[in-house]
Symmetry: C2
Subunit: 434 residues, 2 copies
């Protein structure tokens, strides 16, 4: 029986999941691959920590270099996370002509181009299915399923923490801070939730998906990123009354040679499939020129879903090696030398939801609509919520499609009105259609 030896770097939650899955489904995997996947070494900073799986102590080492240098190891599995040590180890693995599997989205979003190119130059494979939406086979769908398609757009709910918070806010009508605290207590949100709730994690995933789908490198810092901290329970309620749900979306759209790349909360129509994606689930909607609309849904995080994706990458490389031990790796999809041409956020077009907190007195509406009109923004509807003379009441507006720059100029002017007592809430509306 032929076997493929793997070395794991980092044995925290996901690493333990990978060990567990290979232990539990190893026979099945062997049957499917025609050979065995064998864990040869596991490097971790703490080889004594408690894990929810029995790890053979003779496999554990604190010396990652020993794993990287082991000539018997075919595939290095990087599950350390972050961009410091992980980058160094990934570089070293590739330069030693080891195939690489990583779940590290932050690393790929910021140093992916270097790693993809090194893998191609060294003729080894780099698998990163687990870096985007855990167990949903999205990277594979992009690389292989849509290989004949020109991708037009990607719109996804790619952060389970934010989706859990927004879903819970919607269902329980409670404020962000309270729901976040509860999510932290349940382990659905980190003690420092910034990566998730400020949209950074979603932007990492968008960078990886968009670079793959459009074949041109998307510089991470060119992605427009807004999080969900500012969403008020009232916005969720008003959106609901208008027939929408609020979701944090990662959006990439190619139009006329320019790429929109943005992460922000948005209103989506309640009859849209993405609106029905609740709790910690992820879903990504992709439109290709031949295939039309596709949607992929599942658990975007968690120990075993992520481990499932990691092992699927190990298996794909192992299948190739078992088939032909001298085989070169499958090169990552080609990425053009020129960076993707990112559309300036100010020229992006969208419909908008506005909640203006204005003193309830005559003439206010005409001043606000005057500002919008002079910036080429026309309204679909205006609803004043409540009535309380001389105090601030919400005015909820839905606009026709407008240009972001015009909207930002309007907001500056509206918020300077003496009758407006708080910054206006402005959310984009995303249509997500065929």
């Amino acid at each position: 029986m032929k076997s493929i030896q793997i070395g794991i770097l980092g044995c925290g939650t996901v690493g333990s999941g990978v060990v567990k899955l290979i232990q539990e489904n190893g026979d099945l995997l062997q049957q499917r691959l025609g050979g065995r996947v064998v864990i040869r070494r596991i490097a971790d900073v703490d080889i004594h920590r408690r894990r929810n799986v029995e790890v053979d102590p003779t496999l554990l080492t604190t010396d990652a270099t020993a794993v990287l240098e082991d000539p018997e190891i075919d595939i290095i599995v990087e599950l350390i996370g972050g961009c410091d040590v992980a980058l160094r180890f990934c570089r070293e693995a590739l330069n030693r002509k080891k195939h690489l599997v990583t779940a590290n989205k932050a690393l790929l979003a910021t140093h992916g181009l270097e790693l993809y190119r090194t893998a191609a130059a060294q003729r080894v494979s780099i698998g990163f299915e687990a870096s985007v939406c855990g167990g949903i086979p999205l990277i594979r769908a992009m690389k292989d399923g849509l290989v004949a398609d020109r991708v037009r757009s990607i719109i996804g709910i790619v952060n389970g923490t934010c989706n859990y918070i927004l879903t819970t806010m919607t269902e329980s009508k409670r404020p962000f801070a309270e729901v976040l605290a509860e999510a932290q207590a349940h382990g659905y949100a980190e003690a420092n939730p910034s990566f998730d709730v400020d949209g950074i994690d979603s932007a990492h995933k968008l960078q990886i998906l968009a670079t793959l789908a459009f074949g041109a490198y998307v510089p991470f810092d060119r992605i427009h990123v807004e999080g969900i901290r500012q969403i008020d329970a009232s916005d969720i309620e008003y959106a609901r009354e208008l027939g929408y749900r609020i979701k944090l979306l990662a959006i990439a759209k190619q139009r006329n040679g320019e790429l929109e790349a943005r992460v922000h909360p948005a209103l989506i129509p309640e009859d849209n499939l993405l609106a029905a994606v609740g709790g910690v689930h992820n879903a990504v909607y992709v439109v290709g020129d031949a295939v039309g609309s596709l949607m992929f849904y599942g658990r975007g995080a968690g120990q075993m879903p992520t481990a499932s994706a990691v092992v699927s990458d190990i298996a794909e490389i192992a299948r190739g090696l078992l088939h032909d031990p001298t085989a070169r790796g499958v090169p990552p999809p080609p990425i053009s030398d020129a960076e993707a041409k990112i559309k300036d956020m100010a020229s992006v077009r969208s419909c908008y939801y506005l909640r203006i907190m204005a003193i309830d007195k005559p003439g206010v509406l005409s001043r606000v609509t005057g500002i919008l009109g002079s910036n080429n923004i026309s309204l679909v509807s205006v609803i004043q919520k409540g009535r309380e003379e001389q105090s601030a009441v919400p005015i909820v507006m839905m606009t026709h499609e407008a240009v972001e720059g015009d909207m930002q100029r309007s907001l500056l002017a509206i918020d300077q009105l003496d009758v407006v007592d708080r910054p206006t809430m402005c959310l984009r509306v995303e249509g997500v259609t065929d």
Copy 2:
């Protein structure tokens, strides 16, 4: 520039789509694969028919054998359909060590085992992404994405025609026959709609998916198949009132070493994602032991979505050959020698919806519930719809989980009651949960 030569057998709707897609996205494909996919010959029974794509007339031939025998051709693409000529040509292609791509679900559902084994023996690849749900990369997800997972269940809406009919019946409250006629007029249903509306097409797809997912051959004739002809507009309405939608589902579930394999209409809760899948769309819900629940959604048919899947298979094989021209094909996933152990339909457990047409007079309900009770079936709810003394009125019942055999015995007895004037409608309820 290296190139891969393909020969296409059958140039109807899907064949023309493949030609079109390779023409339109050929450069993109070349960029992604590092080599060119070249159509060398196209065999069709009618080389003069009108197509929505310009086909170089020198490529066309009526002689399929010439295509099969061409030594320059690497990949044969079978798009003829049916099980007669197509089977002969597919066998011949494989025996000549040509890689094979086919969209032919009827062929694979009935002769797949032979073809998979021939491909493995000849060491060539067989691609069949397009055979199930058109452009949705489901076969790939099963083979590669879920390679580390033990699949627990597959529940899918896999026939666009039926879903269109049921969705339209739900929205417009019109009867089956009328909506079917309209679907035929719009080209969403065939002149002979039996394959679709009687569930056969769904069973073909289920056979392919289940054989792949569970690694054991599912004999096509062991799949329990019911279609949607008998669904009454009133059933859709009553289901709706109870919080359900009616969908034609293809279901495969592995439990205790036995496989349930069945196609039938079923009630699903309205808050379930599958309930939101409307019109001609398809969606398949898969549960794996590590990855949890996944759902795949998209257009399950149509010229370009299907072509997208066909070309993705061509591309995958081409990528391998371009990489290494002497490479053997990727073997199809292993299928055990023993057939899948299919659970007897009579022992399947389910909750049920019943619509009994009974004369509205005292004592009827006690006779019906007496029969159910003596067959170990207990009720969740009973609603009599309308009131019209001495004529038949619908009594709608929802049951707790029961055994199919008990239900069939009950139905026989109920329909023999003198107060019941029409066969009782019985539909299963499918929960679709994590």
